[in-house]
């Protein structure tokens, strides 16, 4: 299973970013082999639509599920439409720790947007 995660660095010791769409990297990792790919998050500096763009990139990147600390309302709408489950990482967790916790059923499933949008 491929897991998509917003991350603050490009390796498995990176932290799960507290921002869903404004993380510097997106990490796609195979939950069995821990093989991973880190890509630059092009939504990081979007003026607008970062949330929907991030959801699209995670889906296009092949994520079956997502681990994140937060998901905004529009980003959530996209994930819901595509039936992608999201698990909530605890603040400060590394990618490795989050993967382990998810595997052991320790991460809560997110069932609605966790925050307001960031429109001014």
């Amino acid at each position: 299973m491929k897991i998509g995660i917003p991350a603050n660095s490009n390796n498995l010791d990176a932290k799960v970013d507290s921002r869903y769409a404004r993380s510097q990297y997106i990490i796609f990792v195979d939950s069995e082999t821990l093989e991973f790919e880190a890509v630059n998050n092009k939504n990081m500096n979007s003026q607008q639509g970062a949330g929907t763009g991030m959801s699209q990139d995670l889906i296009k990147g092949g994520a079956d599920i997502i681990i994140s600390q937060n998901v905004g309302p529009k980003a959530w709408e996209v994930l819901k439409e595509f039936g992608i489950k999201v698990y909530k990482a605890v603040d400060g967790m590394s990618i490795k720790e989050a993967l382990e916790a998810q595997k052991n059923g320790k991460l809560e499933e997110i069932t609605s947007a966790t925050e307001e949008g960031h429109h001014h």
Partner: protein, 284 residues
């Protein structure tokens, strides 16, 4: 003549100045008041216009014909705002993120996209005495003022005196309201916050190469730094209004400054004369 009344900081008295300027000049001029502060169009509170026309304004958003769409994703790649998404044989459109630029329709190779209006605002037009009144009013929750301001500005008359109430700040909505005017009146207060945001607005107006002047509201409060800055930048402080409790009380009940203190009408006429000469200076 088109005058934009703008401010860096919000709450400095932009609407007090723009409505009082309109009321003072309307006795001998053909005045058009355009409230382009579409997120908070408050000019009507003071001008109390009779509205004779009201219609929906909006932006054209894509409607996708799923019988034609082959989910190639070209539209999503073309969209600068992630307002249209394609992945795994699904397509989603977020009307509220769309800027109505038509890029998605242009790149669609199977002609699956039609554009339809998504209403985001109300246009109101009427008369306040002999002032021609126009305002744009963004619907609650709509995030994008700029396309609406652009549509309202397309309706500006060629003749007469136009007073534009601009959004505060110095972002794209303020630029849209101010651009192509003949003069920008920047309303500020001499506080550190007022001065900080004024500087940002001044820098923005400079880029548009429009002559400008400052109105110092609540001019007896705060510090003298505003005047030092204005002098250094060679921007005239055209009018100073002290803090007066009765003006604030009038404001809170919708009474314009020039009705609270009628003598100010003359001062606003003088202000206009100064603006006229600054504009003609620029033209020479």
């Amino acid at each position: 003549m088109k005058i934009a009344v703008a401010s860096g900081k919000g709450g400095t008295g932009k609407t007090i100045i723009s409505t009082s300027l309109a009321l003072s000049l309307a006795t001998d001029k053909n005045v058009h008041y355009f409230d382009c502060d579409v997120e908070a169009p408050n000019g009507h509170i003071f001008l109390k216009p009779d509205i004779i026309k009201e219609e929906k304004l909006g932006i054209d958003v894509p409607k996708v014909n799923l019988d034609k769409c082959d989910y190639c994703g070209a539209c999503a790649d073309a969209c600068e705002f992630s307002a249209i998404l394609v992945a795994r044989n699904k397509i989603m459109v977020f009307n509220e993120l769309c800027h109505g630029c038509y890029a998605c329709q242009m790149v669609c190779h199977v002609d699956a996209i039609n554009m339809e209006m998504h209403s985001t605002a109300i246009y109101r037009e009427g008369n306040a005495g002999n002032i021609h009144f126009v305002e744009g009013r963004l619907n609650l929750g709509e995030p994008m003022p700029t396309p609406i301001i652009s549509k309202i500005k397309n309706l500006l008359p060629k003749e007469g005196l136009v007073i534009i109430d601009s959004p505060p700040g110095n972002s794209d909505s303020m630029v849209e309201a101010v651009i192509d005017t003949d003069f920008v009146l920047l309303v500020t207060e001499p506080t550190p916050f007022g001065l900080h945001d004024l500087k940002l607005a001044v820098d923005t107006v400079k880029l548009m190469n429009i002559p400008m002047g400052i109105v110092a509201n609540r001019a007896d409060l705060g510090t003298k730094d505003l005047w030092d800055y204005a002098k250094k930048e060679n921007i005239p402080v055209l009018m100073e209004i002290p803090f007066l409790r009765k003006v604030a009380e009038g404001y809170s009940t919708g009474i314009p400054l020039v009705d609270v203190i009628p003598e100010y009408r003359e001062q606003f006429k003088v202000l206009y004369k100064k603006i006229e000469s600054l504009v003609s200076e620029k033209e020479r």
